[in-house]
């Protein structure tokens, strides 16, 4: 089996999400990469150093600059003539592109895999992670998105892949990129952070959230997350959301502050190594999954914790 892994990048460097996908792909077959972007030769050179990587296909074209699915999917579909599996991180970019590729190939995609059980057999979460399905594909080609937290990251260095330029259809003319509002933060990224401090609805409002959660996160060098309730209430932007419909995280330590623990939220963080919960309601469901629980008023406990660490 020859796999083609989508390299997640911003045209200047390889994003961490790629590394877990390389591990998943290596369990399926040979690992080849695709770097599609604009002015992204540096990304391809960097990607070629990932341990275990074979060929790195570099598709450098202005049409691929923003990974518009309309432009990128036909490129991938073309490359799939000589590959058996397209393996993609389950990021918003991957989830946007992969089904478009699958439909072009007339393949039923396997979404969000947690493990590779056989050449065409995988496990994946259904019902917000309340059940795990083992599925086997009968399609000739595979299109797979990978849940990053379920696989160890491949080493970013030590590999000796070869970069080879490829080209595909250019701009489809169907869509164009207008702009983006990407939050700049000094803190680590949620999906790759070792420690996450998350706040819930109990934080009252945006100012209180900022004043309570951020100092603790900064003290710990942690990323900041939030429950859906906190995001819906406007305390923090949507990209902070941890949960089935937000980001799936699995840090070393997850500190849930004022989060009750709705199924939806638990689905996004229950694979964290250690879960710490601070909540004044001792019956909150979050305590059923927490390794360490503190029943306390967060407005007293969190500043005290921040001060004593």
């Amino acid at each position: 089996m020859k796999t083609l892994v989508w390299v997640e990048h911003d045209n200047s460097s390889v994003k961490d999400a790629t590394l877990a996908v390389v591990t998943a792909a290596s369990q399926i077959g040979e690992v080849h990469l695709l770097v599609a972007g604009s002015g992204c030769k540096g990304v391809a050179d960097e990607a070629a150093k990932i341990a275990g990587v074979g060929k790195v296909h570099l598709a450098d074209d202005a049409a691929y600059a923003n990974a518009l699915a309309e432009n990128v999917a036909p490129l991938v579909a073309g490359l799939m003539a000589s590959h058996d599996a397209f393996v993609v991180p389950a990021t918003t970019t991957g989830k946007n592109i992969a089904p478009r590729v699958a439909a072009l190939l007339d393949v039923m995609q396997v979404s969000d895999i947690l493990s590779v059980e056989g050449p065409k057999t995988f496990t994946r979460p259904i019902y917000a992670g309340n059940a795990i399905a083992t599925v086997e594909s009968s399609d000739a080609k595979l299109v797979i998105t990978v849940r990053g937290t379920a696989f160890a990251k491949a080493e970013a260095t030590g590999g000796s892949g070869t970069v080879e330029a490829v080209s595909g259809p250019s701009d489809s003319g169907l869509s164009s990129f207008v702009g983006s509002e990407i939050a700049k933060s000094e803190r680590p990224e949620l999906t790759s952070a070792k420690i996450i401090v998350s706040g819930g609805r109990a934080l009252k409002d945006a100012e209180t959230f900022t004043a309570t959660i951020f100092p603790l996160a900064d003290k710990l060098g942690a990323a900041v997350g939030a429950s859906r309730a906190a995001v819906d209430a406007g305390y923090v932007p949507n990209d902070y959301q941890v949960g089935q419909t937000g980001k799936i995280v699995a840090p070393q330590v997850y500190i849930a502050v004022g989060i009750s623990g709705a199924i939806q939220h638990l689905a996004g963080m229950k694979d964290s190594k250690t879960i710490i919960a601070i909540n004044k309601d001792e019956d909150a469901p979050i305590f059923q999954v927490a390794d360490i629980g503190l029943v306390a008023d967060l407005f007293v406990a969190v500043p005290e914790l921040t001060g004593k660490l």
């Binding site: 983006s180 949507n238 927490a290």
Partner: protein, 251 residues
């Protein structure tokens, strides 16, 4: 212009799914079923576009068992104009690829300019149909939409992406998939629920669109996720600090 909204009948989002003891799936007998929440947002968005005078007619489509008529009636009660049910036998699950082919068939038959659907269904969590429809029809896609604005023969979609927001401009006809914060769906009023009963609903079959719904994926087993058990409770912040220090935090 005409809009097509796709809705799926799924387990109600407040119900905790139970895995069947024989490992063949999730027990749906006597479980409350509702419209997929992301699809409710899709219906609401189409109605708002109609209220703005952009959309002239809203067709709601579902692929599912006879009972999916209830889901379509809900869409009609919210404000869709008419409905199409592509009916399958009870217990038959139609995979996203086959659903997408059916959606394409209906969309072409009806000549719609905008297809709106939820980004994913909360049962199989596939997140595929919208993107697949767009691919099969050779049209653009605006996935995970947080804001939708129709501007002449284009639609501008602000998308919720991992790092924040991204805006794309798509040539119509186009496919939009909805994210959570696009809007807050309305509740159907009693008079509208009554009115919905007399709105037209066509019952079709997958074969009417020449679509083979035989599954490509075989579910070998469905199991419970690993259970995480409750740990300890600490008495106060000092005890928590001590525990963290044991773990080497802060480093």
């Amino acid at each position: 212009m005409k809009a097509l909204v796709c809705v799926k009948r799924v387990i109600d989002y407040n119900v905790k799914p139970r895995v069947k003891s024989d490992g063949t799936g999730v027990d749906l007998a006597n479980v409350k079923m509702s419209m997929n929440p992301f699809d409710e947002i899709a219906v609401e968005e189409a109605i708002r576009l109609k209220e703005k005078g952009v959309v002239t007619e809203i067709i709601a489509l579902s692929v599912g068992p006879a009972k999916a008529q209830e889901t379509l009636r809900t869409a009609l009660a919210m404000g869709a104009d008419r409905a199409v049910l592509v009916q399958v036998d009870d217990g038959v699950e139609v995979e996203p690829l086959a659903v997408a082919k059916i959606v394409k068939g209906v969309a072409e038959e009806e000549g719609v300019s905008l297809i709106i659907t939820g980004k994913q269904a909360i049962d199989d969590d596939s997140n595929q149909v919208g993107q697949m429809v767009a691919a099969l029809m050779g049209r653009p896609q605006g996935t995970f939409a947080g804001e939708v604005t129709v501007d002449g023969d284009h639609v501008i979609v602000k998308r919720e992406v991992d790092g924040g927001l991204e805006t794309v401009k798509l040539a119509l006809p186009a496919v939009v998939t909805t994210d959570l914060r696009l809007n807050e769906p309305r509740y159907a009023s009693l008079p509208n629920i009554m009115k919905a009963k007399s709105k037209p609903m066509a019952i079709k079959a997958a074969a009417d669109y020449g679509v083979d719904i035989a599954p490509r994926l075989k579910t070998l087993k469905v199991s419970e996720p690993p259970v995480r058990s409750a740990g300890i409770k600490v008495a106060d912040v000092d005890a928590l600090v001590a525990k963290l220090k044991e773990m080497g935090i802060p480093a």
